[in-house]
Amino acid sequence: MSDKFKYTAGLNNVGSYQVAGSPYVSASIVAEDLEEQISFPRVTDFINVKLNENIYNSVFLEGQSIYYISASPQAASNGDSRTITAWIKATVDNTALNQGIIIGGTNTTANRFCIREKNGKFQALLTDSVNAKSILNIAVPTGWFHLAFVINSGTNMKVFINNVQQGSTTAIASTLGASLGGGLILGPPSNGDGTYAYRDSILWNAALTDSQIENLYNARNNYRDPAFSVAEKLVWIKPTEAVASSPVNTLINSGDPDYGNMTLTGYVSPEEGKIIADSPFGTGNGELRIHYRSTGSLPNVVNNKHYWTLDTKGEEIKMNVKSKEIYLSTTNGDCDFSIQAGLTNISTELMHEHTGSGVDE
């Protein structure tokens, strides 16, 4: 008899589950729409997964003076339509005049396409040397709000706050002209005050429809690229991918030292391909899915929803399960998780892959 033969506990050895296990602890982040396989060194007795943080892909600017997105934004030709959308948090000064919150052109140039604050109210202005159109007396919400300023050239201009239309008027076809005057900037003028923060500010090369505005607003917990594909983005402060038209990605290189003292928060690096910052909107749709087969090879895991989901910060699940592996995948955002498992002394070679009803059927 060989003295090299070693007896080991089998998968159904009760005692292996009754004695306290050895710990297995790990914490990491699963990026949006990706999957991570965690392989345990021995068969588990239990697995405890906790969602530490939902992280949404977003970008965040805040500060007191303007941020120059581009000194030479895409000039619009006669008859072009445009939309500006942004998430904004504003602390305004009711006594000051003409503080810009979003400006296409500058606050004082003849040709402009801007939203500004005056005497505690927002104003949407569309002017050139001949014509002037405006929507006035728009109340300033508290906290974060979604603003959309739509110019459908020759037809109308509208302002939406949190998907509620604040007013509209006839737009003039030629107003945008060959020049917007100055650059496209965010924030009050350098001689103004007030504090502003911005997220996901986009200048669109089209007049977004009411339903597209609604989609953007409803995407507040979940900035996903498909929701932003309805028109070309001329200037986008959420650069996630290379786009042939310019000046996309201008934010990264466009902090104007003469103006901007806004801070870009949560920015990782251009090489990351995505900007990651915490969402200001609380709990949302960021979802960590826990399953026992890979979604890549077995579509029934997703199709038949054979997973447990964690989508609230601090939420956890303790599973009394024997397994040699577990899969974590995410949707609608990145998820920061921690995992704790109790390990038996049973070798993973004795453990089969889970399959069947409730797993992958």
Binding site: L11, N12, N13, V14, S16, Y17, Q18, V43, T44, D45, F46, I290, H291, Y292, N304, K305, H306, Y307, W308, T309, I317, M319, N320, V321, K322, S323, T344, H354, G356, S357, G358, V359
Partner: protein, 120 residues
Amino acid sequence: MSVHKYTAGLHNVGSYQVSGRPFTKAADQGAGVTTITFPKVTKQIVFLNRGANDMLVYFHVDSPAGNKFTIAAGDQYTFDVKCKQIYTSGTNGQGYTLYASLTHIPEGRMYNLTGSGVTE
């Protein structure tokens, strides 16, 4: 000689002492009663109500109202129970997530739960 395969019985203590096999399901409550059938006898069921309204979980399709367990909106509850089916009802379309630890015991060994606390 006939081929007979021994399997663990319903009262095999070890089957409940070893850790279970996973069964996971995320779904929306349908109209009326939803039946969830397990391929093996359970040892533990974790149920999370993701909807905005109460959900009822019970162990016989004809359980009276007094034998239905209420899980409030957003609440999670763990049942340490052996069974082969559970029944849920609630608002049509509201979401829930379920995790169960299954024993090796075939569901055919499990009897239908009835009687006090279940159907009376």
